[in-house]
């Protein structure tokens, strides 16, 4: 395999105006927000998201006015509430949507990854997900067909291929053999489905460290186009085994997002303001970041120790 390491700036250039992205993460965990901040600071237009649960990516793209379309299954802020800029963007007709179940999105990624023109699945049938199109015509997304073997009705869905996957993970070797601890969300399927794959990681390690636990390799290097060493690249979302989500910082955004004007100021100050990744982290401050660190025996920071 080849060395995939590039700078954050080089990786950001792989995301052009008008492209569709999918991003790793689940709820307040391992969303590639370090990369996203750099992308927003750089500025892009007319992006589409194809996502399962990367609520912060969808919301910040919407808040930055960069999001046009969303193929997705669920974006909300667990413990807070709705993604306000994203939801209001849809209500205002500024963001077009195509809805799915989680499994529906995952299976469209799988079909795209495996070059299958369709894939059967046992959910989504009988609902408006299957019959009400927002971007596609419904019959392009889901159909109920009869099994060629027994004639039973079964739903089939079509492939959906994002242009770029952006994933933050725990560690990789220089060739991009990538591991993540804890629940792995949809990272493997997203990486396999996308045309271009960008991985940011907490640590770049020697190949021997990957080979020491080869069963944990989630994304092999041949899927990866660009690898960026980006510690705290998920912050303010968390990174299992490294640090908890920064609920205070997330709440700060959530409060600002209730009002379009205050939200715009927040985006300007926090996402477009920092000079680079280190400035972004530096403004939070070392004490704040280190206070989030996981207890290694638990994989998280117990309540009694919380920052």
């Amino acid at each position: 395999m080849k060395d995939k390491r590039v700078s954050l700036e080089e990786a950001v250039r792989l995301v052009p105006d008008g492209c569709s992205i999918t991003a790793g993460g689940f709820a307040h965990s391992h969303q590639p927000l370090g990369f996203l901040r750099a992308l927003i600071a750089e500025g892009r237009r007319d992006l589409a998201i194809m996502g399962v649960a990367e609520c912060w990516v969808a919301e910040w793209l919407a808040a930055a006015g960069m999001l046009d379309k969303a193929w997705f299954s669920n974006f909300m802020f667990e413990g807070f509430g709705r993604c306000r800029r994203f939801s209001e963007g849809i209500e205002a007709g500024e963001i077009a949507t195509e809805d799915h179940s989680h499994f529906g999105m995952v299976m469209r990624f799988v079909a795209a990854a495996e070059r299958l023109p369709f894939i059967p699945m046992l959910s989504q049938g009988g609902t408006d997900i299957a019959t009400t199109g927002g971007i596609e015509r419904p019959e392009e997304k889901i159909q109920i067909i009869k099994s060629p073997f027994g004639g039973e009705p079964v739903a089939v869905t079509s492939p959906l291929r994002p242009d770029v996957a952006i994933i933050h993970a725990a560690r990789a070797d220089a060739c991009g053999n990538t591991q993540l601890d804890g629940a792995t969300a949809v990272l493997a399927e997203q990486a396999a489905a996308a045309k271009t794959v960008i991985v940011t990681v907490e640590e770049i390690v020697e190949p021997g460290e990957i080979a020491a636990n080869p069963a944990a390799t989630l994304i092999s290097g041949f899927y990866v186009d660009a690898l960026v060493h980006l510690p705290y690249g998920a912050w303010p979302t968390g990174m299992y085994g490294y640090h908890d989500p920064d609920m205070g910082f997330l709440d700060d955004y959530y409060q600002a997002s209730r009002d379009p004007a205050s939200c715009a100021r927040w985006i300007e100050e926090h996402l477009r303001g920092p000079a680079d990744h280190w400035d972004w982290l530096g403004r939070a401050g070392v004490a704040r970041l280190l206070a989030l660190r996981s207890d290694p025996a638990l994989g998280y920071r117990p309540a009694k120790d919380a920052a």
Binding site: F26, A27, H28, S29, V52, A53, F72, S73, N74, F75, M76, E78, G79, R82, C83, F86, S87, E88, I90, E91, G93, A96, T97, D99, H100, S101, H102, F103, G104, V106, M121, L122, S123, Q124, G125, G126, T127, D128, I129, T132, G134, I144, E152, P153, A155, G182, A183, T184, A185, V186, A188, E189, G238, Y240, S294, L298, G299, Y300, P302, A303
Partner: protein, 253 residues
């Protein structure tokens, strides 16, 4: 006695020992750990994040939250968790909703026109998958005429669709909802029509009080059970599982 506690206890009752239950954040998580601590010690809990059978030391505030991973017998990804549903390995799933109709169909997508909604909601997530593929489901929804509606704005998650036979025609393997747990009592589905009717009442409520909060006509009930007030031991357990009352307050506000 809080309505939260009554709902959590009613939800826990739906879990049988030895089953595999697919659990979301909030009240179902509290109910699941209540069941596990009482009549269903060998229930296996599965979460859509890919966490299977954990033994968390503290109540988690989300299905992907790190404290939920502690002690899990398996951790994978979301596809693996949802594939358990497709495999028919999940006996029971819990669902919440913004709107529900008489057949137990749910809307968590949009109020108003889909392309230009009055209120955009979060979307299905795993709900449609649970409702389609778990052997049976239980909906948890406080009563209210804006929630229990004659006609949904958008059908996100299948209940019994249009009635008997409709799920099979849509290719759905699970049997659909068996209960709807409200804050006044528990509704079930009439076996012939698959439309909702009252099955159990929480202490102090009447069928008419429930009907008044439901925007469609409930089927005539069969036999109705009235629950006793929960005992102190159960309430103490709820307090231990959710000490801060994050999801289940023991006193109504």
């Amino acid at each position: 006695m809080s309505r939260d506690a009554l709902m959590a206890i009613a939800a826990a009752r739906e879990i049988n020992d030895g089953e595999v239950a697919f659990i979301g954040t909030g009240l179902p998580m509290v109910a699941a750990y209540l069941a596990k601590a009482t009549h269903a010690p060998s229930v296996t809990l599965v979460f859509e994040s890919g966490i299977i059978d954990p033994a968390p030391l503290e109540l988690a505030t989300g299905v992907g939250e790190y404290r939920l991973a502690y002690g899990a017998s398996a951790i994978r990804g979301t596809r693996a968790a949802l594939t358990l549903l497709q495999q028919g390995r999940v006996d029971l799933g819990f669902l919440g909703t913004a709107e529900i109709d008489a057949y137990g169909n749910l809307n968590s997508t949009a109020i108003g026109d889909y392309r230009r909604p009055k209120v955009r909601l979060p979307g299905s997530g795993g709900a449609n998958d649970i409702a389609s593929m778990a052997a049976r489901t239980v909906v948890i929804a406080r009563a209210g005429r804006r929630r229990f509606v004659e006609s949904l704005n958008y059908l996100t998650t299948p209940g019994h669709l249009t009635g008997p036979g409709a799920r099979r025609q849509a290719g759905l393997p699970g049997d659909g909802p068996v209960r709807v747990i409200t804050d006044m009592g528990v509704l079930g589905f009439h076996p012939a029509t698959l439309r909702m009717r009252v099955e159990r009442l929480f202490p102090g409520f009447t069928p008419d009080q429930i009907q008044a909060e439901i925007g469609f006509r409930l089927e005539d009930p069969g036999e109705i059970v009235t629950d006793a007030a929960p005992d102190a031991e159960t309430l103490a357990l709820l307090r231990r599982i959710d000490p801060a009352g994050t999801y289940v307050k023991l006193q109504d506000e």
